[in-house]
């Protein structure tokens, strides 16, 4: 018993020393982007640059809060988040350093933070998915307010508790103000919009005939159509600049306390090069943050995609609090 215990203690000490050694010589990333999505491209970076990368995967929110708690002692060099909100929060905590112009100018203006603390690496657009059996593109309203029309009663699904829906709603507020957002939510509710758990459930519900339309993220559908081209669901955007087309970006910023800022900059540049951008578009069906030749998911070009998405201040998307208050007021949360 006693010897077993000392063995355990000894192992602990060994592991402890080993791990602290690793910290000094490599790039440490806190990634809110899940391993399932980005692991291959992170490995490509390691292979091509020879820089060792240690990644802590977790939820963007949790990692952002952890960074704020760690403060100046954070071992992280780079924060790569799934949504603008988390990056905004860390920026507000004054923990991210200003990026050099050489990186900022790699992406269009709307894809960088106004504080110059982070840039987008790829994006996920909001779309309207619809049944190809019980509806068609002609029936689709030109803007998101059209969905409150009585002819859509009981036919539209959404996921009010889902983070991507809430980001969209924050975009709505930034574009049209709180009152318009509240009115829209009320009208949708009175029009019997159906609640679902997440985006995936929405797509499946359309296929199963429970609903005919759904407000969802653009890339879920491709997972179904990839294996089954006759899948009875399609998707489309609203008119250019409509909040219903919000492009919610993932992005990366470098910590002020980073001791490997150069390697971190190399990482961001790598993610903005064609190779990585193609990976995001072709393998995980996202929208690129820099110009990529040819057709993007959903059959649009990069330039068209920029015009479709509404222009919102990405850092302001961090203000989820008021959005959640609105959802509660209307009784959706």
């Amino acid at each position: 018993m006693k010897s077993l215990f000392s063995l355990v203690v000894l192992t602990f000490l060994l592991l402890t020393t080993q791990i602290t050694e690793v910290f000094a010589q490599s790039l440490t990333i806190y990634s809110g982007r899940s391993k399932a999505l980005v692991d291959p491209i992170v490995n490509d970076f390691q292979r091509q640059t020879g820089i060792r990368v240690n990644v802590r995967y977790g939820g963007s929110t949790q990692l952002a809060v952890a960074l704020l708690e760690e403060g100046r002692r954070s071992p992280a060099d780079l924060f790569w988040a799934q949504d603008a909100g988390a990056l905004g929060a860390v920026t507000q905590g004054e923990m991210l350093q200003e990026l050099p112009e050489s990186i900022l100018e790699l992406v269009p203006e709307q894809f960088r933070s106004e504080n110059k603390t982070w840039v987008a690496t790829s994006g996920r657009a909001r779309v309207l998915a619809y049944s190809t059996v019980r509806s068609s593109e002609d029936e689709i309203p030109s803007n998101i307010n059209g969905l409150t029309d009585p002819k859509f009663r009981n036919r539209v699904g959404w996921a009010p508790s889902n983070a991507s829906f809430q980001a969209f709603l924050t975009g709505f507020r930034l574009l049209h103000g709180d009152d318009a957002t509240r009115d829209w939510l009320r009208a949708m509710r009175e029009n019997d919009a159906q609640n679902y758990v997440n985006n995936n459930a929405l797509i499946q519900a359309i296929a199963a005939g429970e609903i005919d339309f759904a407000l969802t993220n653009h890339y879920y559908l491709f997972r179904y159509t990839e294996s089954n081209p006759n899948y009875p669901v399609a998707q489309t955007f609203f008119e250019n600049g409509d909040p219903g087309n919000l492009n919610n970006v993932s992005g990366a910023g470098i910590l002020k306390t980073s001791r490997n800022a150069e390697a971190a900059q190399q990482f961001i540049s790598f993610m903005l090069e064609q190779h990585a951008q193609r990976f995001f578009t072709e393998n995980i069906f996202e929208y690129p943050a820099t110009e990529v030749e040819g057709e993007l998911p959903g059959g649009v070009t990069f330039q068209e995609m920029l015009e479709i998405s509404p222009q919102v201040d990405l850092d302001a998307l961090a203000d989820l609090e008021q959005t959640i208050r609105l959802l509660r007021e209307v009784g959706l949360l």
């Binding site: 899940s34 929110t61 949790q62 990692l63 952002a64 809060v65 760690e70 071992p75 988390a86 609090e321």
Partner: protein
């Protein structure tokens, strides 16, 4: 079998129930039976009950096994009918086990996040999470967490009042004999029926859901780094289970044998670690280690200590129930025979605690295997556990890839629990 539901992550259970019911659910498509979609309060209630009942089951079981059958026989000989024996003699004897189980479940529910978020029933922990997610406001969330701890305090005071002054060990001479297996007779069938329904809902249903995910593979099937993930999971969960069960003994010991106000409070401290929402606990530990022992930060050691702190309460209950039934006379006899204090305890009482300790270890191991927020924030960097993988894939709705990891959690958990209980079974 009764332990396994503990190994099922809350959100898997919630997904399973959500997939079963509703107009497009499995019941509707396979059996043409349209059940209303389980969500909100009832959804959360059913889902949480299905994977937390083992806490009560195992506590009660440990209590029942340690029960002196002579009590029952005396009651029978004094003219009680079997059901009277059960109600008036056995149930009251099980009180410590019952309270311990109920307390753990109560506190678990206060802190559960996976199920309630999917079922969209806003509990306290959900509110705390929203506070972090919506405004990154650590201060306000910390206040909410403190309120949660106050509620825990109330629950603990209640338990204390209920257990005061009880003793359950035998005081007569002789030792307890082996219990006779009860004959169920005609009651066999309803009992079997009930047990099978429970198994179906709590184990088979979620396992079927996982297997269904696997078959539904849209992106092609692959066997990723399952083994390294398994290694990580076990390397943190097993030591934590061992450590928690070991540390639970002195805590329970002073609480049961030297019940003064201060020892009571000490024993109850374990529950506060459990009731603190994991995210808040992880943040607190980040703050603490960075200022007090930065060398420990993000090491396996810290992760194991964090698991131990958080899950200690699960370990205290079973050990304490076992202690209630172990007579202090035995230890006194050992001291009389010349053993020093510690040795006397090891020779007389410790062997009696083995059953309780096994249950404790099983609890902590299973909980640690599926734990998420603490693992995310405190694990060594690059730590790649099974639960983290399940979460990582299922959050992207890549259920087919999440499935092998989820199955492996279940498989390995049953293996571990099987090993723990193997001794007990072989004695029968």
């Amino acid at each position: 079998m009764g332990v396994l539901p503990l190994a099922i992550p809350g959100y898997v259970m919630a997904y399973a129930l959500l997939g079963l019911t509703g107009a497009n659910g499995m019941m509707a498509t396979v059996f043409g039976l349209e059940l209303p979609r389980l969500s909100g309060y009832w959804g959360a209630l059913v889902s949480i009950s299905l994977y937390t009942f083992p806490y009560l089951f195992l506590n009660l079981r440990a209590g029942l096994m340690g029960l002196d059958p002579a009590l029952e026989e005396v009651a029978r000989s004094l003219g009680y009918r079997p059901h009277q024996v059960f109600l008036k003699v056995i149930l009251p004897q099980l009180r410590p086990a019952y309270y311990a189980g109920a307390l753990i479940i109560g506190l678990y529910v206060l802190g559960d996040f996976g199920s309630v978020s999917l079922m969209r029933f806003e509990t306290f922990s959900y509110a705390i999470y929203l506070q972090y997610a919506a405004s990154y406001d650590r201060i306000y969330a910390a206040w909410l967490a403190l309120m949660l701890l106050c509620m825990t305090g109330f629950a603990l005071v209640l338990e204390y009042k209920l257990l005061r002054g009880l003793s359950f060990y035998r005081t007569g001479t002789g030792s307890s004999k082996r219990a006779k297996t009860a004959r169920l007779g005609i009651w066999k069938y309803p009992v079997y029926f009930f047990v099978s329904i429970l198994m179906l809902a709590s184990i088979i249903l979620p396992v079927m859901t996982i297997i269904y995910w696997m078959m539904d593979g849209l992106d092609g099937f692959f066997w990723p780094n399952l083994w390294s993930a398994l290694g990580s999971s076990v390397s943190a969960s097993a030591p934590a289970a061992f450590l928690a069960a070991t540390l639970a003994i002195p805590l329970a010991y002073i609480g049961v044998r030297y019940p003064t106000r201060s020892t009571r409070i000490l024993e109850k401290m374990a529950y506060f670690g459990y009731a603190t929402p994991p995210l808040a606990l992880a943040l607190a530990l980040i703050f603490f280690t960075l200022s007090a022992a930065p060398i420990l930060y993000q090491t396996l050691t810290l992760l194991i200590l964090a698991y131990t702190l958080h899950f200690m309460a699960e370990a205290v209950g079973p050990v304490r129930s076992a202690l209630y039934q172990a007579s202090p006379r035995l230890e006194e006899a050992a001291r009389n025979l010349g053993y020093p204090r510690f040795k006397a305890f090891m020779k007389s009482t410790f062997p009696l605690l083995r059953g309780g300790m096994i249950v404790s270890m099983a609890f902590v191991f299973l909980s640690a295997m599926k734990e998420l927020p603490i693992t995310f924030l405190l694990s060594p960097i690059g730590f790649d556990s099974l639960a983290v993988n399940v979460w990582s894939y299922s959050v992207e709705a890549m259920f087919a890839q999440a499935a092998p990891f989820a199955l492996l959690i279940l498989l390995f958990s049953s293996l571990f629990v099987g090993l723990l209980f193997a001794r007990e079974w072989s004695q029968k």
